[in-house]
Symmetry: C2
Subunit: 224 residues, 2 copies
């Protein structure tokens, strides 16, 4: 794996866009305002017509950047996971104890994304909120296999792999490192969603509680 510390730019797979939104002010406006709109009203209510109105542009111009709103959601998702991966690597870099390293990695998963390392001025809380509510729709999609093939999920998959490797470092005899990693990353979104909409289906109503839940789970599962 290449060292992402050297370049602060989240490198997003070019299959996700038609024209790189970071290459122009219009592109930046598209991404920035789409995050505002999707955060506010969800992906179902969102469309390019509304977005065009907000940024003072037109549908046809937006379509030159993104094939459709689904691809734009995949782009936003990759941005999120890229930031989380970056934070995770920075935070755990040079840590010696494998368990401490894993727990620190998990802790960063529950923290707000630091969007300063992108070209966009985005509020991290909005980005997280979108992922909590909409990411499952990004991959529970009829084209998931061909999009996966095209690399649309590469950052996400790399993050799961990183976490899985950290689990192996803690306990090389453990047989389910990938499943455990995906459960945790999935939970880093879903438990927030449950807290918001199905309050009684989770005990974790804060970042801190979430961390305690998974810390307990990981420690017992891997160390006993």
């Amino acid at each position: 794996m290449h060292n992402i510390l050297s370049n602060l730019r989240v490198d997003i797979n070019s299959s996700l866009y038609l024209k790189d939104p970071e290459s122009s002010q219009l592109g930046i406006n598209i991404v920035k305002s789409s995050i505002d709109l999707i955060d506010a009203n969800g992906i179902e209510e969102f469309n390019f017509k509304k977005l065009a109105r907000v940024i003072g542009s037109t549908e046809s111009s937006i379509y030159r950047y993104f094939e459709n709103k689904h691809r734009l959601l995949l782009y936003i998702s990759s941005l999120y996971w890229g930031i989380m991966e970056f934070q995770m690597v920075v935070q755990t870099n040079n840590m010696s104890g494998s368990l401490e390293k894993l727990l620190k990695a998990v802790e960063t998963l529950f923290s707000t994304p630091q969007t300063k390392c992108t070209s966009f001025e985005i509020e991290g809380q909005k980005l997280r909120h979108i992922l909590n509510s909409e990411f499952v729709k990004a991959y529970h999609h009829k084209l998931v296999d061909e999009e996966n093939e095209a690399g649309c999920f590469s950052i996400y998959k790399r993050l799961v792999s990183r976490l899985s490797e950290m689990i192996v470092e803690v306990n090389s005899d453990y047989s389910f490192s990938k499943s455990l990693a995906s459960v945790i990353i999935e939970g880093s979104l879903n438990q927030y969603f449950l807290s918001e909409h199905f309050h009684n289906l989770t005990d974790c109503h804060s970042k801190d509680n979430l961390y305690l839940f998974y810390k307990d789970l990981l420690t017992k599962t891997l160390m006993s």
Copy 2:
């Protein structure tokens, strides 16, 4: 001879339909064929026009049973969770050891739903496949709060509560029984989905492996 299972009526919240589909042959055809179609092509490709064509009826007739395809998906989901709840209760009934009981409950979560005990002739595998791919869309939805209020998720929530209670029975000091229960039930769908579409993000490619993963997780988390 009548099996107790043949008397099962999954009691589905009436807010999910306009006219009870179990009350007529047309209603039964709607549910049965919608499961075939959604299983085959996913909820996005599915609509009432196509369904009407398949069952030899009309859009307007279908709209008399279900407000829209989203509500129909909620109905199908409730059917699934109702069957799973029933199986779980039957399988764990009269078991004495709390851990064994919990593990048996979890094992049934990964088994195929026994649909013979409903009014519909449904293939359980299709039902499971739909839930694996589409259930997240049923609750990551703009109307989730009002639908939740109306009782559209009551069976699902009751199932999570039951599992949570079994966890408490095993270890009353454990602080995260609800979160753990929701993680497991969520995983009972998502790990199957990962196996199908993101093969490398899970270690569990069979029912048996899935059970071993969660058995290990539960035993260590609650017993150490």
